[in-house]
Symmetry: D2
Subunit: 339 residues, 4 copies
């Protein structure tokens, strides 16, 4: 790929000249504005040899080649860490936010009770599924719109920002009225039209790893969102599928330091889906923070054994309360803190 960067202070005429030149030479190309200027990206074999020619055009700040397939998600584009703010809670900085909540919103009482417990324990953001894509059509599919209303209530009572999953592009609008961040679930991690629609919205996106996705493929999925204009992407490792059957998935702990090398995006960890069993969730949380995670997303439920979905992986509110000071100590041992 050929990358052409234009700074903010360049005149419209100069910008248009570059655009025309690119059109003439290559036909199609991608264009993204970030705070610092415009990035134009050309793909295809003809793009390889043109560095010199474009460097000389007035207004062009830089021309580079990138062969990673995920330029905007990569360290070549941005060497410093990106900090993604979700209604005041920052992911990717020194402080580590903990998100907690149930797998699915089941009732007004359940989500409010949980939100209060989450807040009291010291977590700073609430999760809860309204639209739940389940393997079986006969499993609980979420309360949908109703759940959004309950989430809004929990949010206004506790002040906790909320993250919930979207599974259709047309839900982004309605969900955004309630949610401070939008989640892409594992099954939709390569749902390209959904990624592109999220790239055009103004909410931060938590992009879960597909259960069969390599790190490179995951960064390319993030690239779809970034390329569509939304720079606020948080990567969420949630385990990959392997032959080991004692855990629901295998937490790829190495993904954390590797992603931090390859990408400037924040990396958080979901130990609940990664394990599928609450008894080891605290150990996985400690490990994730020790490995450099920028945040945690933990499932908790007032009565895990009565949960309508994934109860076996939700910790109780008491466990969450005990876990938080422990995570604080581990964060501090890595030279960081909890948000």
């Amino acid at each position: 790929m050929l990358i052409i960067k234009i700074n903010n202070n360049v005149s419209q005429t100069s910008i248009d000249r570059v655009r025309r030149k690119l059109s003439d030479e290559f036909g199609k190309y991608h264009e993204v504005s970030d705070g610092r200027g415009i990035v134009m990206i050309v793909t295809g074999y003809r793009s390889v040899a043109n560095i010199g020619q474009f460097k000389r055009i007035e207004g062009v700040a830089d021309v580079i080649h990138d062969f990673s397939g995920y330029y905007l998600a990569g360290r070549n584009y941005r060497s410093e860490n990106t900090v993604v703010a979700v209604s005041g809670v920052c992911f990717g900085g020194i402080a580590i936010p903990v998100i907690a909540g149930p797998c699915g919103v089941e009732s007004r009482t359940q989500i409010i009770e949980t939100a209060e417990a989450v807040k009291k324990a010291g977590a700073v953001m609430l999760r809860g599924g309204a639209f739940k894509p389940r393997t079986s059509p006969y499993s609980f599919q979420g309360l949908g719109e109703e759940a959004l209303e309950y989430l809004a209530d929990a949010r206004s009572r506790t002040g906790l920002p909320v993250v919930t999953e979207v599974i259709r592009a047309e839900d982004i609008g309605p969900v955004s009225r309630v949610a401070d961040a939008l989640q892409v679930g594992s099954r939709n991690a390569q749902n390209i039209p959904l990624l592109q629609a999220l790239g055009r919205c103004n909410r931060p996106v938590i992009l879960k790893r597909g259960m069969m996705m390599t790190l490179e493929e995951w960064l390319m999925a993030a690239e779809y969102i970034l390329l569509s204009g939304n720079p606020n992407v948080i990567l969420c490792e949630r385990g990959i599928r392997t032959f080991e059957s004692m855990t629901r998935n295998t937490l790829d702990i190495a993904a954390i330091p590797l992603l931090k090398q390859l990408s400037h995006l924040p990396v958080i960890v979901d130990p609940s889906h990664a394990s599928g069993r609450r008894d080891i969730v605290p150990a996985l949380c400690r490990a994730a923070i020790a490995a450099g995670a920028d945040g945690m997303m933990i499932e908790t439920h007032p009565q895990p054994n009565k949960a309508l979905s994934d109860g076996e992986q939700a910790i109780t509110h008491d466990t969450l309360k005990d876990l938080m000071p422990e995570l604080k100590r581990f964060a501090e041992t890595t030279g960081r803190s909890l948000w």
Copy 2:
């Protein structure tokens, strides 16, 4: 799950009585009409103990329990094989249809030339991607609407029915104007809203296996389509992801006889994605037919080395021509024939 079956000849009053009873007892339930009557499906723990109670209701032909999670896709629902007809080409019967075509539609000439070669070789259906969900946003994403027009042209010139992939619910309408069957790709195999939308359309669906899907999960994905009202689902095995790196995926040949046991739906095989390399495509085709496949979907391209996507796995038109009589012999050895 509690399954209640009502035959076609039952009066509306009796049907409504059952419906009311189910509503009163369980709240929500699923309802599907097939040619033979109505199937009502209740989930949840309370559904377990109610067989006797419903058996006695007038008009109820049968009440059964099913614990598979994919009742409509399973042999419990239908013991005989389902034959899915795609504009006159039948999948699931004695005769085995071969679908062939390029990964992506690249130009009018390319698809027409290919369609003619496909027809001449004896294959009976044309494949070709218009909307291509690619791992990288910088890869060729298909020609979109333009490709649909070219496919329509190829279809009308050769008379071959056409299958092409849909990646958004809103494309189902426009694509259906050209395509005789709609394909769900591996990355969308658990895109629930898409599956449900396809369940409400009147085109047969070719549902590819997700690259990390168990057979049970795949049948549950099919169940989403069936439960939404579309009985015409063809399963397409296309390889799963493993540690072996010499092939793009690992063709799960055992999936064929297993699915034929578990399900009444036709099972076809895509040896091109399963291997990612054209040199072993013929061997995989032979194996698939020997294992009991109900159809093949093979990638072919006029000039594989110049293909804009997945060229390394496309066979030449000449190879296809040589392969067809071979497949015929293998089909006959299994007591079947080529369509």
Copy 3:
């Protein structure tokens, strides 16, 4: 690697001159005699640039570089197929031998009864484990020496050659007194000292694929045997471990055509371990032969449900009898026959 070939008719003096030269230049090197002459193999970075220098030495027939890591197992060493004869039964030629028998030898009666059924069905070789490496120390570990005696009896009554597994180098001698071929099981596929000891014995070796082995790693395991002097190696695909849990392993059907390209060694298939369930064994047999397998190894037991090990994957003698004519038809469809 640098490969130096010397023909059979070269004088001892010339051979010694080459040896001295190699010693002086590289220190250690490998030497293997095959029917046609001597092959000397030098590894290490210094070996790369020396083709010219060695080509000029008298008696040297050929000097080549090979970078595959499995030179002797590869097509570079031998372009024609190797035919491995096991007491008159040939693997790797036009005719395809079928091996059958129980997982483990359980009694004299059981193995004799099975041997007679195997012979009657038309299979040409008997399998049966005497030393069984089991996952749990509390599972049936085989009858050991006693089983060897029973195998000898079954062999002399039916005339069928016998293959059985060895799990320790020191057992090769005693086992060879009974067995016509020695099997390396999946768990020992990278037991290097065992492979090397088998390389020094005079019995053909059936080398099963390790359940986590890539094709390249498998060929390198075969290379250990070949390099130690035993050219009679048969590769046996028996499934690899994946996330799919409905089968014990996943039969990698693509391995068959790939190995036939990469290697001159015979490739046979064990559908019993590959599936772990007898209901799909016939379908996998048909597929394996269609894909080009050079032989089959099938588990059969007089009363599968009473077997002391792996009964769920053994077919009955009746199923075997029905299967053989079917395999014959498939073999003929590929232009081959059953042995």
Copy 4:
């Protein structure tokens, strides 16, 4: 399985009476002496119903059923943690030992230089391969006997206990003259005769996980050693094989807390083989300790880029030196310390 426990103070006559009874009833059974008495283990279906009958025999302290398949390795046998002492270095207690050293012993200088750096950094045990089972026969296979001599030298100069791998039962004797602990590598994790021979030796055993072994299978492999009489087994997680290709293996971090639940044996972690890349070894070390590991085994080399094997995963001596105080801080955060 039926487990019969006899305390130490029971008379020989009583013991013999139980033995006779077991022989009469079941034929074969297993017997292990531990410090506290004798454990007799009977397998097979007939063992299920006999608890009452054996409880009444004089001298029998306890009779229990166990269905795990790894009784001696499990918490049912021993609820407190087992502490394995290797020449004074204890694994499984509060303090966490760090083992470090090169993949393979390459020369006297290399191993002595490394041993001194390892000691200076604060690690307490030296690793170094003498017999190296490599995938390819053309790779460096270790210096063998020569390496043992160098290890002995490094040991006597630094006082560090030494662990090295054995790949053949007959090497256990000679290697034990030098090594304080014996390692079973990943490829031999189900080499049953080797495990049994190690069960009969008097050296602690570090048992690496096979690269496709489930946790249950691993514990059953440990059971082979324990059942043969050696109670000193340390489990070493070293990554499993998955589809992710950016790391050599995938470190299964969840295995640590799970094994600590299932088993009383110490669990250590090898981050070098788990990742195959030195850049993330420190992060994996931190995570392993946070997850509850009882020890670390880290590869370090004076000049990693010149290593004869696995150099890309060895950290430099300087990195090791910097890492140790960091690990100390993490150990303390978990309420433990470094040994």
